[in-house]
């Protein structure tokens, strides 16, 4: 399908924040930040910097008219540091000048003196000192304390998973314009309302005087869900104070240094199984490295707990989550939102159990997959559960047994190159786990020439939500897609938006669009009935812009009805609001029905490992995935492939390294490696599960943004299998990412 947005992309015509021609007099900002991880600010001297060429202002905490607070879930994060700094990169001031260069040069002239304080970077150490963001969270099912005695095998262990830097190709940015009564902010954010609300608080203005507009993002992945807000607020503050437009775009290195990433986790597990491989008990403690403030950590921690048993039914579970406060930039949302970290631990537990018990991990996986109606640790029961279907289809479609067989034969014949494979099933809950976020609205205008403008809360970031909304509107109205334009996401047209996140953009906004379009259809059907002199508008149908009465064609067309409706003074604008029904979650009992539905799938990841050099190639990723009824296959496949590759990167080459002082060493693309074409699997084969319409998705589709990422987790075990083929008695560590260096250490250390 030809998407207008995409046409602009290939022509280079689409405008991102840095492409927008700023008006005359726009000033440019640079962020001055803390060089130390923890300390008191003893002295801050802007006097030299203020005299620097082109500088128009330097803003810090004392300049904030409202409240110096940008925290969301917990109000614990200031926009600018006040008397102390809590992480390397903690913003202290915002310098505004006539050019970006001048602002940067002025920043170098700021004089500051700090008193260094001890800093913590390890989540376990933070937990030991009771430095937690929130009290611990615990999900329980069954009676785990008595379940251990029934387990013939009990395996324990620890698991580490590293953070992940988003590297959206477009860095963070914002332009703020003073308006007659307030501020308009063009922000590269997934959460326009969050920016609006926070800017209002910072500036001490009511929200109705702040307008936030988002055209598109050059990638988000969660990194712009909460963390676009600070930069937008800085620009807004300066624009407000100086009464002139202000632009702030973070250069790549600053972006990497200053923004949060996927949470690193350190976890301990204990798993109990019968001798046949049935998991009876699972106990796990997650130490989430949250960074210096809450950001979205509590919600992310919860999702780790929600997905701690992945695709498996385990009758006795105790999962504890600790959100640990460390002196690192606050970690934030990233595709999967804590789910992948939880899934990695259970898959490790199963893998280790398999080794101990002399079974194949796939045997244990299969034996414990969720069935229809099984209860998950948070009380929800599975519905339309496809876990087993997908797992078995994987074998049917792709001959999983043959794959393992061929790998074994290859490994017998080859000494220095080994192959490995692993199966990764997923079960991912779809809805915001914070129930009140599951709402969206749509505003649809039909203009008198028949062209249609659709507004929703959804932000386009490459996931194709605009294209899907366009299709949903076109199908619902039964008109040509070419009539429809999806507007920018704007807080003046759509109020109180939830961020476009949790893979919910299309679901929530799609339903709102359907409702708004249905309102319009009802109105124009009445017009049609009147025109035809009929009483019963319900007998009117509109198909492909033609009007039918009792399934017989009439002379009327869609455009006729539009024109007539206008003349009859019938509104051609409709607004609708959608909230997901039947979901709830009690934060005290940690039980409820938080998800509208679940996504299921199974993948097999095949890898070839050069045991001499430690480098590896992904030969294949084969997936059987439940797409529901896809609204746009090409878009969904694109999400699948992109998510898989990003997940593979998380498990392997993307390594974040901080030094002992909390400074990020891997702060450039030369040191932080994201997948390039050579890293991508040689083939990705996707089979969509047939006959799986989703009654809880618009046009019976299923959400697609996050789930594919988690298939990448299989890479860890595929590589571990390959390593073990080379060195059977290798001491196995469960410490992602598995970089080539780590592989070499595993293969060769004494």
């Amino acid at each position: 399908m030809r998407n207008y947005d995409s046409i602009q992309h290939v022509r280079g015509d689409s405008l991102f924040i840095d492409d927008i021609t700023p008006p005359q007099g726009t000033l440019y900002g640079y962020v001055y930040y803390s060089p130390i991880a923890h300390g008191k600010i003893l002295q801050l001297d802007f006097s030299e910097a203020l005299k620097s060429t082109g500088v128009k202002g330097i803003f810090s905490a004392k300049d904030i008219p409202g409240v110096n607070q940008i925290g969301g879930i917990i109000q614990d994060e200031n926009l600018f540091a006040e008397d102390s700094v809590h992480f390397v990169g903690h913003p202290i001031a915002f310098i505004v000048a006539d050019t970006q260069l001048h602002a940067h040069e002025a920043a170098k002239k700021i004089k500051s003196i700090y008193e260094k304080l001890p800093a913590i970077f390890d989540p376990r150490q933070a937990a030991a000192e009771n430095k937690l963001i929130i009290p611990h969270r615990k999900f329980e099912l069954g009676n785990i304390d008595s379940a251990w005695s029934e387990c013939e095998y009990i395996i324990e262990g620890s698991v580490e998973s590293g953070g992940q830097e988003h590297i959206y190709l477009e860095t963070q940015g914002s332009i703020a314009f003073p308006t007659e009564s307030g501020i308009k902010i063009i922000s590269a954010t997934q959460g326009p309302t969050a920016v609006q609300r926070t800017a209002a608080k910072i500036l001490n203005l009511p929200m109705n005087r702040i307008e936030v507009d988002v055209q598109r993002l050059g990638g988000g992945f969660g990194g712009k869900e909460d963390q676009a807000t600070a930069w937008a607020c800085m620009a807004a503050l300066a624009a407000y104070k100086l009464n002139t437009p202000v632009k702030l775009v973070l250069p790549r290195q600053e972006d990497i240094r200053l923004t949060g990433k996927r949470h690193p986790y350190s976890s301990d597990y204990k798993i109990g199984l019968t001798k046949d491989g049935k998991i009876l008990a699972y106990e796990v403690t997650f130490y989430q490295n949250a960074g210096a403030t809450a950001d979205l950590s509590p919600a992310i921690l919860d999702r780790t707990l929600f997905h701690c048993t992945n695709s498996y039914f385990i009758p006795n579970v105790r999962a504890t989550g600790l959100s640990c406060k460390t002196n690192l930039p606050p970690f934030t949302a990233f595709r999967g939102f804590g789910g992948p970290q939880g899934m990695f631990v259970i898959e490790t537990a199963i893998y280790k159990a398999a080794l101990v018990m002399g079974m194949e991990p796939a045997e244990i996986q299969r034996k414990n997959l969720l069935n229809e109606g099984d209860e998950l640790p948070y009380g929800q029961k599975t519905f339309n559960c496809n876990a087993i279907r997908c797992f078995d289809e994987l074998d049917h479609k792709f001959s999983v047994k043959n794959i393992f067989q061929e790998i074994e034969e290859f490994n017998m014949k080859n000494k220095l190159v080994k192959k490995g494979a692993a199966i990764m099933p997923i079960c991912f809950g779809i809805s915001f786990t914070t129930t009140f976020l599951n709402q969206a609205s749509a505003l649809v205008h039909i203009y008198t020439d028949g062209s249609i403008r659709v507004n929703t809360a959804a932000v386009e970031m490459g996931q194709g939500v605009n294209a899907k909304l366009k299709r949903i509107a076109a199908r619902t109205l039964s008109v040509n897609e070419s009539r429809i334009k999806v507007d920018t996401t704007n807080t003046s047209r759509i109020s109180n938006t939830s961020p476009t996140a949790a893979s919910k953009g299309t679901d929530l906004n799609g339903f709102a669009v359907i409702d708004a379009c249905n309102i319009l259809i009802e109105r124009i059907k009445k017009v049609a009935a009147e025109e035809l002199g009929k009483d019963d508008a319900s007998k009117i149908s509109i198909i492909d812009e033609n009007v039918f009465y009792e399934n017989e064609p009439t002379i009327l067309t869609f455009i006729d009805l539009v024109k007539k409706a206008y003349l009859k003074r019938i509104s051609l604008t409709a607004q609708a609001h959608h909230s997901t029904p039947n979901i709830f979650f009690d934060l005290k009992s940690n039980k409820g029905n938080p998800f509208a539905y679940h996504i299921y799938g199974s993948a097999i990841i095949q890898v070839t490992l050069d045991c001499l050099r430690g480098i590896y190639e992904f030969d294949s990723v084969k997936v059987v995935h439940d797409f529901g009824e896809s609204i746009d296959q090409i878009i969904d496949i694109g999400q699948m492939e992109g998510g898989i590759v990003q997940g593979l990167g998380w498990m392997t080459i993307e390594e974040l390294i901080w030094n002992g002082e909390g400074k990020l060493l891997t702060d450039a693309l030369s040191t932080y490696k994201i997948p390039d074409i050579h890293f991508a699997p040689k083939e990705i084969k996707i089979h969509a599960l047939e006959n799986s319409p989703n009654d809880f998705g618009p046009l019976r589709s299923k959400a697609i943004g996050e789930p594919p990422f988690m298939y990448g987790i299989g890479a860890y075990f595929a590589l571990t299998n390959a390593m073990r083929a080379f060195r059977p008695n290798m001491k196995i560590k469960y410490d992602a990412p598995l970089t080539p260096e780590k592989i070499l250490l595993n293969l060769y250390n004494k």
């Binding site: 280079g12 840095d18 598109r216 992945f221 290195q253 390039d676």
Partner: protein, 156 residues
Amino acid sequence: MITLKFILNGKEVSITTEPHIRLLDLLRDKFDLTGTKEGCGVGECGACTVLMNGRAVNSCLALAAQVEGYEIVTIEGISNGDVLSPLQKNFLLHGAVQCGFCTPGMVLSAAALLDQTPNPTEEEIKDAIAGNLCRCTGYKQIVDAIKETAKELQVK
């Protein structure tokens, strides 16, 4: 300040500029050609790729003064008015475009390849775009789009 003369998207141009600004900034700020993007500023991501005398280069690593007398092609010079090139069409058809930020650089690297190597092998295609990072697509559809374009151009 110097006066620079070169050929930009097929037209002779002349511009007064600081000699040491990057070619990237020259194109974006002085010529308003914002199709060429800055993704990293250090020659790692390829979002700033332009064609210099027919060859793909990182415009973030070239200085304005260095293009005197050269031919520079940016993404804006790839389509013929409203008509998309076969490469651009196939990028759209094959879902090789998601957020669009890497797309201009990717298209130019592919265009340079097909110009020099009309019948590239899969390895040659991969090498040609190895310096263009994409965080969204996983690359498969991009390679498919280039393969398909090569096939079409062969037929012609």
